[in-house]
């Protein structure tokens, strides 16, 4: 069994902030890391590897710095990684990304299972997985919170807000996993450092049979952004601690955050 996991190298979303002086979003010079949701996908693949003796390949599109992210993911237990290197300034939309990824998958065939994180922390589009499946003509299940697989088939639970659907299907297939599916392991710094660079292969567009133009024409372009004002209810609860607690529970029940 061959599992391919899509891994994205992203800026650390917890460090994104608005510059107080310029009122602009600070995106440059921030620390970068592996997309946390993709760690769940890697973890799930590594589990299947242990269980079924699968081979796990990682694919990614990103700057040179993404090697760091791929090393971390390989240290988690993947076998090898493939990086399509682009300039750090390169902006790609999900259509372009899914096209490149589909070519990478084709190059790695035969592939039985493709796992993606349900979303990326920086773009938050939740499109790449589905688009990639469409390009490859594969069945796709989103928001997977539980997965079992065997040679030729899989069974997954896809959890949306209020319902959990159990689905069965034949491989090859693409699944996007939710963060609830597992707790990713944390390789030690030494284990990450000791990943040999030759386990991360670098590809160029032409290796995939693509022209440079594949990077040129995004189908959507960001025109600008603003920070939405958030309405807060600002409720002050009065009374003795015992009364206040009761009132608080009542509010929380109304908000449906308590079951």
């Amino acid at each position: 069994m061959h599992i391919v996991v899509c891994v994205k190298h992203v800026v650390d979303s917890t460090e994104i902030h608005v510059d107080k002086k310029t009122n602009e979003l600070v995106l440059r010079g921030l620390s970068t890391k592996i997309n946390d949701y993709d760690k769940n996908a890697v973890e799930e693949a590594v589990k299947l590897k242990k269980e079924l003796g699968a081979t796990v390949s990682l694919i990614s599109i990103g700057p040179r710095d993404a090697v760091k992210t791929l090393k971390e993911a390989v240290a988690m237990g993947a076998d090898q990684a493939y990086l399509l290197q682009v300039s750090p300034r390169q902006q790609l939309d999900t259509a372009q990304v899914s096209l490149i990824l589909s070519k990478m998958v084709e190059k790695l065939e035969p592939v039985d299972l493709i796992l993606c994180g349900e979303v990326s922390e920086d773009g938050y589009n939740s499109q790449t997985g589905a688009r990639l499946a469409a390009r490859l003509g594969l069945p796709e299940v989103s928001y997977v919170t539980s997965l079992t697989a065997a040679e030729g088939s899989f069974e997954a639970v896809s959890t949306l807000e209020d319902t959990a659907e159990t689905v069965k299907g034949a491989t090859p297939a693409l699944l996007t996993v939710s963060s609830a599916i597992n707790v990713p392991r944390l390789p030690t710094a030494i284990q990450i450092m000791k990943v040999r660079s030759d386990r991360i292969k670098q590809w160029k567009l032409k290796d995939l049979g693509l022209e440079d133009s594949a990077l040129e024409t995004p189908s959507v372009t960001m025109l600008g952004y603003e920070i939405p004002e958030q309405e807060r209810k600002n409720i002050m609860i009065e009374g003795t601690p015992a009364e206040a607690a009761k009132t608080l529970v009542k509010y929380l029940e109304e908000e449906k955050v308590m079951n």
């Binding site: 620390s31 944390l186 030690t188 030494i190």
Partner: protein, 710 residues
């Protein structure tokens, strides 16, 4: 005629001649016992000897000092008065009695042949008096020890199979020796018998007529008992007589208490080397022979267990059982009869034979639980107490390192490490918020105030903890009031203490190297910190990366400023009457800073310092050390609550003063869970001082002005 000792009365002439060959047999058994025991450490005799010689050459004097003060002079043993007393009695008594016996042997078998008599008249009388006194204390010590084991039975004391029999053997030796003396005095009374004052008492009860037949029997039994005692040293608890002094000599010298081991150095690691360095220990097979000996030196006295906050709180950890558990897994290789010595010791290091039970570690083998390893607060109470100078914390650390390398960690720990790595703090707060609030307040960055004398290292807690931010502000007010020229570091990030103590050495070193690079240009400044954990790391750990910093804790600086009269304080609050001080482990026990915080508190106008029962080097951890502030382990009681109650019951304070952000957070929480918010205020010493600064007390101008030095 001279008064001399009567040698072997009532005994056939041959008896004296038998002692030596007989002793050789028993000593042979003892030697074999030692040999078997040392085999378990995987010692290669030649290499070990070379190491020993090198150690002795370099730091021999310091090592001997260690042996004398901790070993011969019982510095640690006497921390427990009762056990300390009876150990002195048994040890001192046995030492004198052995010297006495050897003196007699020397006199009889050597000096008498050349016509010299040392033991006569006055010297002999003194000799008899001294040995009777020694025997009296020896017997009393044995009885006290037996009483403790059989009657008092403290929880921390385990009666291993050999514990009581060994004591009974010792007691028998003492009593039979005195009885033999009594018999001699009863049958052959002498004018100077009164010097043997204990023997004389026995003599009063011995019928003289029975002596000639009874004496030889008891003499032989006494002799066999004494030789048996020697022979069983390597097989019983008595092994500590040898193991502890040897360990005290071998122990690494000159390492500060707070400094943790560094299992590898990333800077020195070859990049193309594929092998992962040894991370911690999976089993005792990963230990070098010196640490095997360290484990084997544990006599199971239970002192560590008594003082361990984790154990007292009902967690799975007992430092005693940790060391004992590891010790029990030290296995000697199988030696078939006729095998040559060299072959036997080679066997230990032979990979194939060691691999038995491969993949297993002490956790899967059931020697210790993972919870126990995570329960350790790194407070060092066990190590402070241990008479054998065993480094318990290094073992929990090594076990944690092993768990990390296997990925066997808690989600909260993984989250914590990711936060430190990404955000530069364990709170998972954005890094840009760390210093923003201080810079917004106009506190200068070092770039804006390059001439600053002090760099105020705020620390993660001081920067992000809501309650701790108040302490940071208080420190700044005090510094400003005293006219201290200081700056902060805009790019400050976590020092890495918690990462190191959790056992993720690699991440710690990466972080440390980054910090060292950033801090190097300011190495000529003094680093001021309110966090004893940061204090440790900056002062001790960064030396491994070539950065030797001057570090001062805020209580030390405050004490200094007060001495110099730079802080004018006025009475602030009548409620300050009684202030109890909780010694943070990392400041007190680990760095010996006990007095500066106390001096500062005593100078708070209107305040009286009260001491809880557990104070100074006997302080009891708040429950947050060793990373424990960031994850949970099963426990019966909250350590912070235990400590808080103990402080209140023993010192009855109005204010609990702390000097560590972790302690503050823990006690702030405990005061709430214990419902004591109205009776007790928890404050950092910096807040106590800041509250008394004259500048912001304009409305209380009737308060008497005091200067700290008055």
């Amino acid at each position: 005629m001279d008064a001399v000792r009567e040698f072997l009365p009532f005994m056939p002439k041959a008896a004296g001649a038998v002692i030596y060959p007989l002793s050789l047999v028993f000593l042979g058994v003892m030697a074999y016992g030692f040999y078997r025991r040392f085999l378990r450490y995987g010692i290669r005799p030649q290499a070990a000897l070379a190491e020993l010689v090198a150690d002795a050459k370099e730091t021999g004097v310091a090592r001997l000092r260690n042996v004398v003060s901790l070993g011969l002079l019982h510095k640690k043993i006497t921390r427990r008065p009762f056990a300390g007393a009876f150990h002195w009695f048994i040890y001192g008594g046995m030492l004198l009695l052995t010297l006495g016996t050897m003196t007699v042997a020397l006199q009889q078998d050597l000096l008498s042949h050349i016509g010299v008599t040392v033991l006569k008249n006055g010297t002999y009388f003194f000799f008899e008096f001294a040995l009777d006194t020694a025997a009296l204390f020896f017997v009393a010590g044995c009885l006290m020890a037996l009483g403790r084991r059989l009657l008092a039975k403290p929880d921390s004391l385990e009666n291993t199979r050999d514990a009581v029999p060994v004591l009974l053997l010792l007691l028998f030796l003492g009593v039979s020796g005195l009885l033999l003396e009594g018999m001699r005095l009863a049958a052959h009374p002498v004018a100077w018998g009164g010097y043997s004052y204990v023997g004389s008492i026995f003599a009063a009860f011995v019928p003289a007529a029975a002596v000639p037949s009874a004496y030889p029997v008891l003499w032989w039994v006494h002799l066999f008992a004494a030789l048996t005692m020697l022979a069983i040293v390597p097989f019983t608890k008595l092994f500590h007589i040898v193991a502890i002094p040897v360990h005290l000599f071998l122990e690494t010298i000159g390492v500060p208490k707070a400094k943790l081991s560094m299992p590898f150095n990333l800077m020195e690691m070859a990049e193309d080397d594929d092998a992962e360095p040894q991370m911690g220990i999976a089993t005792v097979k990963d230990l070098d022979w010196k640490r095997c000996l360290e484990l084997d030196a544990c006599i199971n006295c239970g002192r560590c267990e008594r003082v361990c906050p984790a154990h007292v709180a009902g967690r799975e950890l007992s430092p005693r059982l940790l060391v004992q558990g590891l010790k029990k897994t030290l296995q000697a290789p199988p030696v078939s009869l006729g095998m040559k010595r060299a072959e036997a010791s080679d066997l230990v290091l032979d990979e194939d034979s060691v691999e038995e039970g491969e993949g297993a570690d002490v956790f899967t083998d059931g020697v210790i639980t993972e919870n126990a390893a995570w329960s350790c607060l790194n407070c060092g109470a066990c190590m402070e107490e241990c008479p054998a100078s065993i480094h318990h914390v290094e073992y929990t650390l090594d076990l944690r390192r092993h768990l990390f390398s296997k990925g066997e960690i808690m989600d909260k720990q993984a989250a914590l490490l990711s936060a430190v790595e990404r955000n530069g703090n364990p709170y998972a707060m954005p890094s840009y918020e760390r210093m923003e609030w201080l810079l917004d307040d106009g506190i200068p960055d070092i770039e804006d105030n390059p001439d600053a004398d002090y760099i105020f290292w705020v620390g993660c807690a001081g920067a992000y903890g809501q309650r701790n931010q108040e302490v940071t502000r208080a420190i700044i007010r005090v510094l400003q009031a005293a006219g201290v020229n200081f700056a902060i570091l805009a790019e400050e990030k976590c020092c890495g203490e918690v990462v190191k103590r959790l056992g993720e050495e690699g991440r710690f070193q990466l972080l440390a190297m980054e910090n060292v690079q950033y801090l190097e240009p300011y190495a000529d400044k003094t680093f001021l910190t309110a966090c004893p954990h940061c204090y440790n790391t900056l002062l001790h750990e960064y030396k491994d990366f070539g950065l030797d910093l001057k570090v001062i804790h805020h209580t030390e600086l405050f004490a200094q400023l007060m001495k110099e009269g730079k802080l004018a304080l006025n009475a602030h609050d009548a409620k300050l009457a009684h202030i109890a001080y909780h010694d943070p482990c990392n400041l007190g026990r680990m760095n010996g800073i006990y007095d500066a915080p106390r001096t500062v508190i005593q100078d708070v106008p209107g305040a009286a310092l009260v001491e809880p029962e557990k104070c100074r080097d006997m302080s009891f951890c708040c429950g947050a050390g060793g990373g424990n502030a960031w994850f949970n382990v099963p426990e019966k009681e909250k350590i912070s609550s235990l400590r808080l109650r103990e402080i209140c019951e023993s010192a009855h304070p109005d204010v609990l003063a702390v000097a560590c952000p972790y302690c503050l957070a823990m006690f702030d929480d405990a005061v709430k869970t214990e419902g004591m918010e109205k009776e007790l205020a928890v404050k950092d010493i910096a807040e106590l001082i800041a509250d008394c600064l004259s500048a912001d007390k304009t409305e209380e101008s009737d308060g008497e002005m005091l200067t700290a030095s008055s």
